[in-house]
């Protein structure tokens, strides 16, 4: 009704009731400035926003160690050519909690989004036994160097079928894997992807190693992401900050598997880091912000100079405020 009223034109010129004008003034209500009876959440000023989103206030899904499998990679093994590294991946359709109280009908490898971390050392023989228990055809497409028949593009694995991927792991670096059945946009967005690390012949220096897969979820099917996360749960590392020690070498294997949006990014507060694009060379950039398109990945290395709480997040503010943010808890 209100719309209807304002739509009508007001012809200010024809006001036959001259006497009415001063009277009408009386009717104009002055803006009431009543005290708000607000039931504020216990924290402070409303402008606190995400600064207030720390600890138990954070609407993140899962418990304290729920994302450990996605965060902490299996240990690197020394170089031994021809050694077989075997993994089993099963495609399952499953509801996953992507933000507190919000479920998403995902297609997963082994029941999680992202899927398990696959790790090998250069010249290992990688063997991945894939079983499709989902309702749709799937594959695993690995990034890296491998024969055409192991590429996971033409060898479609139908529901109920299995396939074994076998190829020597190379080159070293941070890679990724994902389903490559069309529509690819859908198969990736639904959750079929994960991190794939190949360690160099010469071992990397010992470090506190972390994996971060950046992603998004379009939970209502409108082609836009409703939530953004690292490793699957919105705001997860804001609720459960990642504990590291001051001065220790921290190595982050970072990948972007966000669908729909052109890019994603990683920004760390209060610190600079060495960023090795793809992690396959010694070339690095010294920065605090990196930008990745889908499928791009790299390795971050740093030592925290200061103890305390340091935020990390996408430097697309929208992604940050839709879940892609967290904290490092740096102790002495």
């Amino acid at each position: 009704m209100a719309k209807n009223l304002t739509r009508k034109q007001i012809l200010a010129g024809s006001l036959p009731l001259v006497a009415a004008a001063p009277l009408a003034k009386l009717a104009w209500p002055s803006t009431a400035h009543g005290e708000s009876s607000a039931t504020h959440l216990e924290h402070e000023h409303p402008a606190a926003g995400h600064a207030a989103m720390i600890g138990s206030e954070v609407p993140a899904p899962g418990g304290p160690h729920a994302q450990d499998a996605a965060l902490i990679p299996p240990p690197a093994l020394p170089h031994r050519p021809g050694r077989v590294r075997e993994y089993s991946l099963t495609a399952v359709d499953r509801k996953v909690e992507v933000a507190r109280g919000v479920s998403f009908d995902a297609w997963t490898y082994n029941g999680t989004v992202p899927g398990p971390i696959i790790r090998a050392t250069e010249d290992d023989l990688l063997r991945v036994n894939f079983s499709n228990q989902g309702a749709h055809p799937h594959t695993i497409h690995f990034h890296g160097i491998h024969p055409s028949g192991m590429d996971g593009v033409f060898e479609i694995v139908l529901p109920g079928d299995t396939f074994t991927y076998e190829f020597p792991a190379r080159p070293y670096g941070m890679h990724l894997y994902h389903c490559h059945v069309g529509p690819i946009k859908q198969h990736i967005h639904k959750g079929l992807y994960g991190a794939f690390i190949i360690d160099p012949k010469k071992p990397r220096p010992a470090a506190r190693e972390l994996v971060m897969v950046m992603n998004g979820y379009d939970t209502d099917g409108d082609g836009e992401n409703n939530f953004y996360t690292v490793n699957g749960g919105a705001f997860y590392y804001a609720k459960y900050p990642i504990r590291v020690r001051r001065g220790e070498l921290v190595r982050i294997y970072l990948a972007n598997l966000t669908e729909f949006d052109l890019i994603n990014s990683f920004h760390l507060h209060g610190e600079f880091f060495r960023y090795y694009p793809t992690g396959s060379t010694d070339h690095f950039e010294y920065t605090d912000t990196v930008m990745l398109c889908q499928g791009e990945r790299g390795i971050i290395e740093l030592e925290f100079h200061n103890a305390g709480t340091f935020m990390f997040h996408a430097h697309q503010s929208e992604f940050t405020e839709l879940g892609w943010m967290g904290y490092f808890d740096v102790s002495d």
Binding site: K25, L26, G101, E321
Partner: protein
């Protein structure tokens, strides 16, 4: 004799009991259908999954806080899981259970430092991930129920309702000097303006009901509103005129009631518009309504023009009946804002106005020289609609 009357009585009871049989059979059939677990429906395919979209009833702005009133319009329950303001997830609290059953409502409170006059987009996401978004064109502090605001709305109601009608009634002495033909013309003018009001109210009712959640059954509310006031006024008119067709003061009272119901809806519309900050040109808006409503006073005056003296008190009462409902209307609109109530009010106004048009037409047919088809009656009717149209442009 006694036994036969007993048999009749028993027989009567028997047939009354028989009337319950179809109802009992229906209950049984439904129970059977439900207990089979809807397996019958599976024969013809599965229903689509629930949409899980909420109905945002109202977004209110208070200093440092946004309040969102939502209703679950579907059969399956919906759980509020996440809230965004301008595409950012925000902390929030819900008054009561965040899981809403069918047609259940809840208020979401978000502490938020909103910017005055800037657009705000509020998103409420269900546990199934479906986001309902409500865009507010400009954030403006929502008025709260205060003595000041109460007085303000009362003044608005007085200005757009009572005052112009009282002014319109002041045409009464001039009307008394009019010839019977001209009086008929003015009566027809009353009918014309009431027809205009009825159509306007009906359009408002339809527009509002279209925005209601389907579970409320908007069309039913409209029909119920129209018919119930129409019948109520028919009953009232028989009462006032002692069984005959209404004329004179009785007819004037009916006209006043019809206009009063319309002004209740009008007050509601004005109050709501002020409350949600859509009335940037509030002063002109009020003036427009005043001009529009002066004609309504004329409509009430016409039926009593041919009578002898009417006391000032009577006239004051008539002005109040017709104009005062704008005041509670404005209060309701300003502080409560219920679209269901709005539909009911506008539909009721339409029904009342239509009934009064019928009464006025009867009166003209009976009393006016030349009846309904006289030039004066036809011209007056047309003029009534034209006058309402032209003054309506002011609003």
């Amino acid at each position: 004799m006694a036994s036969s009357s007993l048999a009749t009585r028993l027989g009567g009871a028997h047939w009354r009991l028989w009337a319950l049989v179809p109802i009992a059979a229906l209950v049984g059939a439904i129970a059977l259908f439900v207990s089979t677990g809807g397996s019958l429906l599976e024969l013809v395919g599965q229903g689509p999954p629930p949409r899980d979209e909420l109905d945002v009833r109202r977004v209110a702005f208070r200093p440092g806080e946004i309040k969102v009133r939502v209703t679950n319009p579907q059969r399956e329950s919906i759980t509020i899981a996440s809230v965004t303001v301008n595409d950012a997830i925000v902390p929030f609290s819900v008054d009561g259970d965040p899981t809403l059953g069918r047609l259940r409502s809840a208020t979401i409170v978000v502490p938020y430092d909103w910017v005055d006059g800037e657009p705000v987009s509020v998103g409420v996401t269900s546990s199934t991930g479906v986001q309902t978004t409500e865009d507010v064109a400009a954030a403006v502090e929502t008025p709260q129920a205060s003595a000041r605001g109460f007085l303000g709305y009362a003044l608005i109601g007085l200005l757009v309702g009572v005052l112009p009608i009282a002014l319109g009634l002041a045409w009464l002495p001039s009307l008394r000097r009019a010839s019977p033909s001209w009086l008929a013309a003015f009566m027809a003018l009353t009918a014309g303006l009431l027809t205009f009001l009825a159509l306007e109210a009906l359009a408002e009712a339809f527009e509002l009901q279209a925005g209601l959640p389907s579970g409320v059954g908007g069309l039913g509310v409209v029909l119920l509103g129209v018919v119930s006031t129409y019948l109520l006024l028919t009953f009232l008119s028989r009462r006032l005129s002692g069984g005959e067709a209404a004329g004179g003061l009785a007819l004037a009272t009916l006209v006043a009631v019809g206009i009063g119901l319309h002004n209740l809806g009008e007050g509601l519309a004005i109050g709501t518009s002020f409350a949600i900050g859509e009335l940037a040109l509030g002063t002109f808006f009020v003036v427009g309504f005043m001009v529009h409503n002066v004609t309504e006073g004329l409509g009430i005056a016409a039926p009593i023009a041919e009578r002898g003296r009417v006391s000032l008190r009577r006239l004051a009462v008539l002005a109040l009946i017709a104009g005062a409902p704008a005041i509670p209307g404005a209060w309701l609109g300003g502080f409560v804002t219920s679209d269901v109530l709005g539909v009911l009010f506008f539909a009721g106004a339409a029904g009342a106005a239509l009934e009064v048009v019928v009464e006025v037409a009867r009166y003209i047919a009976r009393k006016a020289p030349g009846g309904l088809s006289s030039g004066h009656a036809l011209g007056g009717f047309l003029a009534g609609i034209a006058v309402m149209y032209v003054t309506g442009l002011l609003v």
